[in-house]
């Protein structure tokens, strides 16, 4: 067991994955000598050489598109997109090419690509550097999307993502990169299933559901609630595509009240899918509507007001109050 930041846990997971399979390569902007703008690939080029750790030209479609070609050649490319807001030039390659190769070829060719994408706000930066673009990807069949909330989870998920025969987007909560530390067992096997949600706190009265950077907010809210005498269950989705409906619905049925949280705007976010499905499957079990606590329905604002945009513990509690009042 070692204490690692989320960033170092991802570095460790990636290193292990590259150690274990020499066909794993990484490509992205500034990932070589610089070690990436977040230093996630720090030391990788020294260890694995410029052959396997490739600085790319400044072109996101190029990164993902050539990765797809390398995958067809038998490689397992891990792409780094530098920031959430810069993934869109690669959009056609991701939703029309990467996600469909298997379907298009009737299962003959898979695209075992990993796309690492730092995301999330409250990082005090400028435009395009604090966003949560997951809703642009979740409508895409054929794509897996996972996001860790702790170092140990990050260590596990990045390895599972590399091992998966499916294309996986790993959304990395960038505000936790260097701020969140945790115990990681570097020798633990990383062979679990990629799309399992996790009940991170047991409770009975209400379920708080979220993923990635929202989990610490939800856990804080649950603690406040506990102090106030309310028992909240907390579910970490981990995989937002596909969603682990068994775990989600079980918790909703058990508590009868659900608050979902994400940083992306409310409209058409992951919360919409969660609410739609839960009300459909757990209709009679629900004591209150599924409530959403989300980013506002505006583009990500200038950072000096971002704390009013990103869901806070208070806003979660407000929604919990509303749900409990039904």
């Amino acid at each position: 067991m070692v204490q690692l930041t989320m960033a170092k846990a991802i570095t460790a997971g990636l290193t292990r994955a590259m150690d274990g399979n020499e066909h794993v390569v990484t490509i992205g902007q500034d990932i070589g000598r610089l070690g990436g703008v977040f230093r996630i690939t720090d030391g990788l080029q020294e260890r694995f050489g410029a052959r396997r750790v490739m600085d790319s030209p400044l072109a996101e479609a190029g990164i993902v598109g050539t990765a797809l070609g390398m995958a067809q050649r038998g490689y397992v490319p891990v792409c780094e997109i530098q920031f959430d807001g810069f993934v869109f030039p690669a959009f056609d390659q991701i939703v029309n090419q990467v996600s469909r190769l298997r379907f298009r070829t009737q299962g003959r060719i898979t695209a075992p690509i990993v796309i690492r994408l730092p995301y999330g706000g409250n990082v005090g930066s400028i435009e395009h550097h604090g966003e949560s673009p997951e809703a642009y990807f979740t409508p895409t069949p054929g794509l897996r999307i996972v996001t860790p909330s702790t170092p140990v989870d990050a260590y596990e998920l990045i390895q599972q993502a590399v091992a998966s025969p499916d294309p996986v987007i790993v959304l990395e909560p960038k505000r936790l990169y260097h701020s969140l530390k945790g115990e990681v067992d570097l020798d633990a096997p990383a062979s679990g299933e990629l799309d399992r949600a996790r009940v991170v706190r047991l409770g009975t009265e209400i379920t708080l559901m979220g993923y990635g950077p929202m989990m610490s907010t939800l856990l804080s809210a649950a603690k406040v609630l506990a102090d106030e005498g309310h028992s909240a269950e907390v579910v970490d989705l981990r995989s937002i595509a596909p969603i682990d409906w068994v775990t989600v619905e079980a918790s909703a049925r058990k508590t009868g009240r659900v608050v979902v949280a994400h940083e992306a705007p409310r409209t058409s976010g992951v919360g919409a899918e969660l609410a739609a499905r839960i009300q459909e499957r757990c209709f009679f079990a629900l004591e209150a509507p599924v409530l959403r606590v989300t980013g506002l329905d505006m583009p990500y604002p200038p950072s000096r007001v971002e704390t009013d945009y990103v869901p806070s513990v208070d806003r979660v509690l407000q929604a919990v109050d509303r749900a409990l009042a039904y």
Partner: protein, 381 residues
Amino acid sequence: MTATNAWTPRIVGPASEPPDDPFAGEPADGIETVQLLDPDARPRRHHTYSPQLTVDEVREAYRTMFLSRRLDTEGTNLQRQGQLALWAPAKGQEAAQIGAISALRATDMVYPSYRELSMVMHRGLDPIGVFQIMRGITHATWDVEAHRMGVFAFVVGAQTLQAVGYGMGITLDGSDEVVLACLGDGATSEGHVNEALNFAAVYRAPVIFLVQNNQYAISVPTAQQFRGAPAARAAGFGMPGVRVDGNDLFAVHAVVAEAAARARAGEGPTLVEAMTYRIGAHTTADDPTRYRTRAEEDLWVGRDPLVRTERWLREQGTTDDWFTGLAAEADEVATDLRARVLALEPQGITDLYDFVLAEPSAALAEEREQVAAYIAGLEGR
């Protein structure tokens, strides 16, 4: 091999219109068009390139071109009869395609666009694969690895990045294979195609970009598509760009062979601009009378690559009998294919769930069951 002259294009002027007829005199952008057999089937000497094909090889190439044209016609007919969703005729572009692919090894990878029926046939694939796509039976079909022939790509140009990535993989492997990336004149305008050119140059990937410049992207003529022709574009990315008469089997073959040799030697990518013409419509949904003249079409019919190759073969002693035999073979192939096309049936929709994700997904399994139950219910009615 001293290829310097062959690939060093001169520069396109700032506002020059691409020539209406690239073979009428010196093209306005100053880039020469490599030609080894002229439209009247007269050999032309070239300072760098010379014909590399034996008579037998040309006969084999002609056979593929001829058979594919026969099936191309069949495709249009089947579409008219409501048996196909769409057909994209390749008539007129056979020499560009077969000239290029015949210059490769069978182990070299090809990333086609959507018009490369003759390349598919050259690789020994059952052409019914193309008809399956066009009938709406599957999106893609053949065994890519076995035949080293990628799937058809319908998002214009997107395949070029994958071709480059595949080439980067070849380099990583230390292999001497090469990749042929097929695209059209219109495709060169797409951003991702330009990214592909740049990545190929930067990583020195063993890729040959074959731009079949058939003068149009649907209705848009090259004069409105770009001011710097593809062959000139290449130099700006730091790779050789060669323009070749795309209806001249010998010239395309020689130019691509040389580019492949360079790529194998680790010298990186080349762009080959094959000047040709799509004699038919863009697809069966298109109406070329809206955007081009009969006179222009006739001009290019006069440069038909099959006619040119046939004349050369006859001059080399190929007999009437051989051609008659081939025509008969083509009819047989077409009749057989037609029957098989009509019999094609799609997989049931529930089977397609297998292809969404490789690792099992509970959500998908559940939906699949629901759909199956629903369909069973309908059939039960």
